[in-house]
């Protein structure tokens, strides 16, 4: 059995190789044009990958399960809804649209509120079985998505155009203007996160044990929910929703590292996430010569992996 630190180093090396390949492989045309573009995209992927991995694992620890992630519960659809509502109610010339910071702040506040309501409703004293929560989360995602579409159709066409430009984000179409803002938020979140890592370890023991050990459980849950909502907001704003990435990387990390230490789990999951995104995009673009975005492939593989996890979990329940 290899030590976890060795495993982390191996992952880090793979991640760096992926990044180097992505940045330098087969650059055609003007280097000075293509290279910064590639760096931008890669930077966005690294940010998103890390944010999603962090958010997913923290969320799973406080909700005490390994199958739910913020994305699966529909929190990333919330970003779209908030943007649509702002356009719908205030119009594209509103200060909440024009000012990136204000816009981002409002989005995050709304997403956090949504997450909290969801949390209060869904996780009261282990009342609902995990499969019910998952199904409800998926249906909720559909509901929010359709609600977004519903409002978008009602909006004035000119406003809609401008909203589409705001919402349509993918790895090929990174919102570069948000890149530094996102990076800044992420650094702050990480600084805070690294201070509460050990508390997460304790909280994994459950509410009663954690409180016995002197952790203010409920306050920490609140903070972690806020933190994970912010992280998901950052990644959704930057590259659009990627539903299953968090689920895949967190579960792979649990399997690969077989530990409860959040420092290892989160760093590991982040590295896996970067490998999946950067390496995956590299393979898609240069090896298979496809035009598909990596999110489609992640949803395909993630869906299969999720079915596998569900079947595994069901054997426990049966």
């Amino acid at each position: 059995m290899r030590k976890n630190s060795t495993k982390l180093i191996i992952l880090a090396v793979i991640a760096i190789i992926c990044m180097l390949l992505f940045a330098f492989y087969n650059i055609q045309g003007g280097f000075s044009y293509a290279f910064p573009k590639r760096l931008e995209r890669m930077f966005a992927m690294v940010i998103t990958g890390t944010a999603i991995a962090f958010a997913s694992i923290a969320f799973q620890t406080v909700t005490n399960n390994r199958l739910l992630t913020p994305s699966v519960m529909g929190i990333d659809s919330m970003y779209e809804i908030v943007q649509t509502i702002i356009y719908f109610a205030l119009g594209s010339t509103s200060i909440f649209v024009v000012s990136r910071y204000l816009n981002f702040g409002v989005s995050i506040i709304a997403m956090v509120l949504f997450a909290l309501i969801l949390y209060r409703f869904l996780f009261r004293a282990d009342k609902y079985p995990i499969f019910l929560l998952l199904l409800a989360g998926m249906v909720l995602g559909t509901l929010l998505g359709s609600l977004g579409t519903f409002m978008q159709v009602i909006i004035d066409p000119v406003e809609y155009e401008s909203l589409q430009a705001r919402l349509f984000a993918s790895f090929m179409n990174v919102k570069t203007e948000l890149l530094f803002l996102s990076a800044g938020i992420l650094v702050l979140a990480f600084l805070y996160g690294s201070r509460i890592l050990h508390k997460l370890d304790v909280m994994a023991l459950g509410r009663d044990n954690a409180m016995n050990l002197g952790v203010d459980y409920d306050k920490m849950v609140l903070r972690i929910l806020i933190l994970s909502s912010i992280l998901i907001a950052v990644s959704t704003a930057l590259v659009g929703p990627i539903t299953f990435l968090g689920l895949i990387v967190s579960n792979l990390a649990y399997q690969y590292f077989a530990t409860y230490k959040h420092s290892v789990l989160i760093i590991g999951a982040s590295l896996i996430s970067i490998i999946a995104l950067v390496g995956g995009q590299f393979l898609v673009l240069h090896v298979f010569n496809l035009t598909t975005t990596i999110s489609v492939i992640i949803n395909f593989i993630g869906g299969l992996y999720f079915i596998y996890l569900l079947l595994k979990e069901s054997r426990k329940a049966a």
């Binding site: 499969f131 509901l143 035009t291 492939i297 079947l311």
Partner: protein, 335 residues
């Protein structure tokens, strides 16, 4: 004593009959509303003049649209009812068993790889995929030991998502994503005479469903039980799946994806009527039609004279009802 229970039984049947009549009246009222709203104001008096523009619009656009909505609503309801009965699970439906996604995949593959294919060819292709897709899910279900009311649709939705991702991938690579999106955007706006007649295929499918109703009920009690009663379980199962595939395909090809309807309508009916298919089929037909009519009317009124795609309205209302159903806990209590 017996007479009393008999009379109360009669009373109950009367009550159900009343409900059926109420549903029929609702459908009629909604139909009239549906006929007389739209971008062009048509009054009943216009129709007296056979040559008028209004009459032409009425006959070419409004009437076909109404028929299409009723057929699609009734059909999707029946499709869901059959699937729920056969799988013994209240939450299995074309939305939650990959049927819709498989039919979509079929159309996309036929668009990409068989460009010269005729409309009939496309229909058959999509039908075959819907059938195979649902069949695979049913096979998968038999393997799963854990037949939880919520677990099964969860797997079904994921299964649909995986097929959906495959479709997006293919559409992306062939650069037809936008066409495909427009194609499946459920809408009755394009339903004019000459473009919806395929939906009539759903009529015999519904009639066959009614003839086989008792057999579906028995098959729903389990393979062993069905065989004991001398029923060819496999045949009934296959006929059921074929009906589901026919209905789903015709609806998708004419009006696009209508989510959740097949899931919630049979459940709403079975709340008051139980699970005897002979009885529930007429109720399901009219409730399905009424539900879709209602959603279509909302879609047309809210941004009048423009329209919202009806599947968006259906998805919003349908998912809310489904969420309520999930959390009312009935499914778990009856497990």
């Amino acid at each position: 004593m017996e007479e009393i229970s008999l009379s109360s039984e009669n009373k109950r049947n009367m009550g159900f009959k009343m409900r059926l009549w109420m549903l029929i009246v609702t459908v009629i009222i909604l139909s009239v509303i549906s006929l007389f709203i739209g971008a062009i104001d048509i009054k009943p008096s216009h129709l007296l003049n056979w040559e008028s523009l209004e009459t032409q619009i009425f006959l070419i656009s409004r009437l076909p649209r109404l028929l299409a909505i009723i057929l699609a609503g009734a059909g999707m309801g029946i499709a869901g009812l059959i699937m729920q009965s056969l799988s013994r699970n209240k939450f299995v439906s074309p939305t939650t068993a990959g049927t819709l996604d498989a039919a979509k995949l079929g159309i996309i593959i036929s668009m990409i790889f068989f460009t010269g294919l005729s409309y009939i060819g496309q229909i058959l292709f999509s039908f075959a995929f819907a059938l195979i897709g649902t069949f695979i899910f049913m096979q998968l279900l038999e393997r799963i030991k854990f037949k939880d009311a919520v677990f099964v649709p969860l797997i079904g939705i994921m299964y649909g998502n995986v097929i959906g991702a495959l479709s997006t991938f293919l559409a992306y690579e062939a650069n037809i994503l936008q066409n495909v999106d427009a194609f499946f955007q459920g809408s009755f706006t394009l339903v004019v005479s000459g473009r919806y007649e395929l939906l009539y295929v759903a009529v015999p499918a519904i009639i066959i469903a009614y003839i086989y109703a008792n057999k579906f009920t028995v098959a729903g009690m389990g393979e062993d039980f069905a065989k004991n009663l001398g029923l060819s379980y496999r045949t009934v199962l296959n006929i059921g799946l074929i009906i589901v595939a026919i209905i789903t395909t015709t609806v998708i090809l004419t009006v696009g994806v209508i989510p959740f309807l097949g899931l919630i309508v049979p459940n709403l009916v079975s709340l008051y009527l139980g699970d005897n298919l002979r009885k529930t089929i007429p109720h399901t037909i009219f409730m399905g039609a009424a539900f879709l009519l209602f959603c279509d009317i909302i879609s047309r009124l809210i941004v009048h004279p423009y329209e919202i795609p009806v599947n968006t309205t259906v998805a919003v209302i349908g998912s809310v009802i489904f969420l309520i159903m999930l959390f009312r806990g009935k499914a778990y209590a009856q497990k």
